[in-house]
C-alpha cells in the first residue's frame, strides 16, 4: 500500500487475492502503480485475465501499469511539466497516438519478457503470445487543473462529489458475461476509451475510485457498487484517511469472498481538502 502526495490529491491503492484464487492457489493477476511527477499523480490499475489461455497475465498486468505510467510521464516531460500544455497534449493524443503507442509498447515489452523470461529458445515469437499475457488497463491522471482517464476493458473509474453524487469518469465496458477488451487484441488501440475534464471552480470530484471488475461484480447492480464510493468518502471524512487504509485490504478480501470471488484491486484518490478541511495542501 502506498500513499502519495501532490496535485491536490492523496492516493492509495491495494489489491486482494480473489477468494477463488486463494482456494485454487492461483496467483493474483492484478497490478497497480502510482506515479508522482511534480504536481501530477498517475494511477494505473490492470487486471490480468487469468484463464488457462492467459497463463502469464500476471506479468501482462504489471507490464501494462508500467507502460501507462511511462507513456503519460513522457508526455508530461515533453510539455516541460506545464499543466496547460500537458492538458493540450493529452487532449490531442488521447484518441489516436497515445492508445496506439500504449498498445505497441505493451506488445513490445511482452515480447521481451517472453524471450527473456519464459522461452529463451525462441528469439522471435509470433503475435499469438500476446493472449498469454492478456490484461485490461485503466488509469487516471490527476492535476490541480484537470483530470484525464484512459481505459481498455472492464473495471471502473468513478468520481464522487461532495454532495455524494457519483459519476462514471469513463462509461464501463458493458459486455455481458465474462468477456472483456484487452491489450492483447489486434488493433487494441481502437478499444480504448478516454475522458479529459477541466472541472469548474468548486465543482471538482473529491474522490476518485479505480477498481478491477472483481469489485463491481461483487454487487448486484450499479447502485450498490456506486455506494462503495460514497461510503469510502463518508468514512474518510469521519475517521480519517489512515483509518481506511488500515482496514481496506481485509475489506477487499471479504468482499471477494462474499461477492465475485475474483481478485480485487482498488485505488482511491481523495482531495486534500477532505483530509485537511482547515485548508492547506499537504
Amino acid at each position: 500500500m502506498v500513499i502519495q502526495k501532490g496535485s491536490g490529491y492523496r492516493v492509495f491503492a491495494t489489491k486482494a487475492k480473489g477468494a477463488i484464487h486463494r482456494l485454487n492457489d492461483i496467483p493474483n493477476q492484478d497490478a497497480w502503480k502510482i506515479t508522482y511527477l511534480d504536481n501530477v499523480i498517475i494511477v494505473a490499475v490492470a487486471d490480468g485475465l487469468g484463464s488457462n489461455r492467459c497463463k502469464y497475465s500476471k506479468y501482462g498486468s504489471r507490464i501494462a501499469v508500467k507502460v501507462l505510467s511511462d507513456m503519460i510521464s513522457e508526455i508530461y516531460k515533453n510539455t516541460a511539466c506545464h499543466n496547460a500544455e500537458f492538458f493540450t497534449a493529452l487532449g490531442k493524443f488521447r484518441h489516436d497516438e497515445l492508445p496506439k503507442n500504449m498498445e505497441a509498447c505493451w506488445k513490445e515489452r511482452v515480447k521481451q519478457h517472453y524471450v527473456n523470461e519464459i522461452n529463451t529458445g525462441d528469439p522471435n515469437p509470433g503475435k499469438e503470445i500476446y493472449e498469454l499475457y492478456a490484461t485490461t488497463l485503466l488509469g487516471i491522471v490527476l492535476t490541480k487543473d484537470f483530470y484525464f482517464a484512459i481505459q481498455i476493458g472492464d473495471g471502473n473509474i468513478i468520481s464522487v462529489y461532495d454532495d455524494e453524487s457519483v459519476e462514471n469518469v469513463i462509461e464501463p465496458d458493458r459486455q455481458l458475461g465474462v468477456e472483456t477488451y484487452c491489450l492483447s487484441q489486434t488493433e487494441a488501440w481502437t478499444k480504448f476509451a478516454t475522458n479529459i475534464v477541466q472541472p469548474r471552480e468548486n465543482n471538482s470530484p473529491i474522490l476518485f475510485l479505480l477498481s478491477t471488475d472483481g469489485l463491481a461484480n461483487s454487487y448486484a447492480n450499479n447502485q450498490a457498487f456506486y455506494q462503495v464510493g460514497i461510503d469510502y468518502l463518508r468514512w474518510i471524512k469521519e475517521k480519517g484517511f489512515e483509518n481506511v487504509q488500515e482496514k481496506i485490504h481485509n475489506i477487499l478480501r471479504t468482499t471477494s469472498e462474499k461477492g465475485s470471488g475474483d481478485d480485487i484491486t482498488l485505488a482511491l484518490a481523495v482531495n486534500d481538502n477532505v483530509i485537511n478541511p482547515e485548508g492547506g495542501n499537504v
Binding site: I20, E179, Q185, K191
Partner: protein
C-alpha cells in the same frame, strides 16, 4: 464485522436451463432415461455449487410437446431444486419453447451482471411447428448470444443441422445413441455450470466457446441402439 462499504454484496447468478422434448416419440426408455439422468446429476451439481460460493447456480426446466411449459415459474437455487419426472405425449413444438426461453433471457428479468447462462436442449425429433422465428429471437438477445448452448440429440431421428442452428457449433451437438449415452451426456452437460462459473475473464470477440470441448463424451455402441 461492521458493514462493508457499498450496497448489498452478491455473488453472480448462473442460470442453467434444461429444455426437454416431451413429445410422443420420447415415450418409454428415452423419457425414463432422461428423468433418471437429470435427477441423478442434481446432487453433484449441488456439490459443485458449494465448491464455488461466488456463483449462485439457479436451475429451471422447460418442457415442450404440444405447447411449451416451464416446470417452475421462477429459477430455483440448486440447493432447493428437485427434478420433477416428465411424461411424453404430443407434438414437438420447439419453436414455442424457444419463445418462452427468449422471454426469460431478456433483460429484465435477466440481470445485467450474471455469468453466461447455460442452455441444454434435449430432443429426439424435428420440430413440428415453425421454430425459426423463436430461435432467431433467442439468438439475437444479448444473453442469447452469450449463453453456452448445448444440444443432445436422442436417437437417430433428430435433425442435427437444426440443433446446430441452436448451438452455433456442431461440436456442441451430442448424439446419444442409447440410454448409456444419454446418461453420460446429461452428466457432462451438468458440469457446464462449474466450467462457466470461474471468475476469469476472456478476451472479447475471440473464440466464443468458453468450455472445454475435449471433455465432451463420445457416442458409444454399448447397449441397445435407439
Amino acid at each position: 464485522m461492521a458493514k462493508l462499504p457499498g450496497g448489498e454484496l452478491s455473488n453472480r447468478p448462473l442460470h442453467f436451463f434444461w429444455i426437454a422434448d416431451c413429445s410422443g416419440s420420447m415415450f418409454g426408455e428415452k423419457i425414463a432415461s432422461l428423468n433418471y439422468a437429470i435427477r441423478d446429476v442434481i446432487p453433484s451439481m449441488r456439490e459443485a455449487a458449494k465448491a464455488n460460493p461466488n456463483a449462485q447456480l439457479l436451475i429451471r426446466a422447460l418442457k415442450f410437446s404440444t405447447g411449451a411449459t416451464w416446470l417452475t415459474n421462477k429459477p430455483i437455487n440448486v440447493e432447493d431444486y428437485e427434478w420433477e419426472d416428465l411424461e411424453a405425449d404430443g407434438l414437438t413444438e420447439m419453436g414455442k419453447a424457444f419463445n418462452l426461453l427468449a422471454d426469460q433471457l431478456t433483460m429484465p428479468p435477466m440481470p445485467e451482471r450474471a455469468l453466461p447462462p447455460v442452455l441444454v436442449l434435449l430432443s429426439d425429433g424435428q420440430p413440428t411447428d415453425v421454430y425459426t422465428p423463436g430461435l432467431k429471437r433467442l439468438k439475437e438477445l444479448p444473453w442469447g448470444k452469450k449463453a453456452v448452448k448445448v444440444a443432445i440429440s436422442i436417437g437417430n431421428d433428430a435433425i442435427l443441422d437444426m440443433l446446430e442452428e441452436f448451438t452455433g457449433n456442431r461440436e456442441l451437438v451430442l448424439n446419444a445413441k442409447n440410454s448409456a449415452d444419454l446418461v453420460n451426456m446429461i452428466k457432462w452437460a451438468s458440469t457446464l455450470a462449474k466450467q462457466v462459473s470461474s471468475p476469469a475473464s476472456k478476451v472479447s470477440g475471440e473464440d466464443p466457446i468458453i468450455i472445454d470441448l475435449n471433455t465432451i463424451p463420445k457416442s458409444s455402441d454399448d447397449g441397445e441402439i435407439w
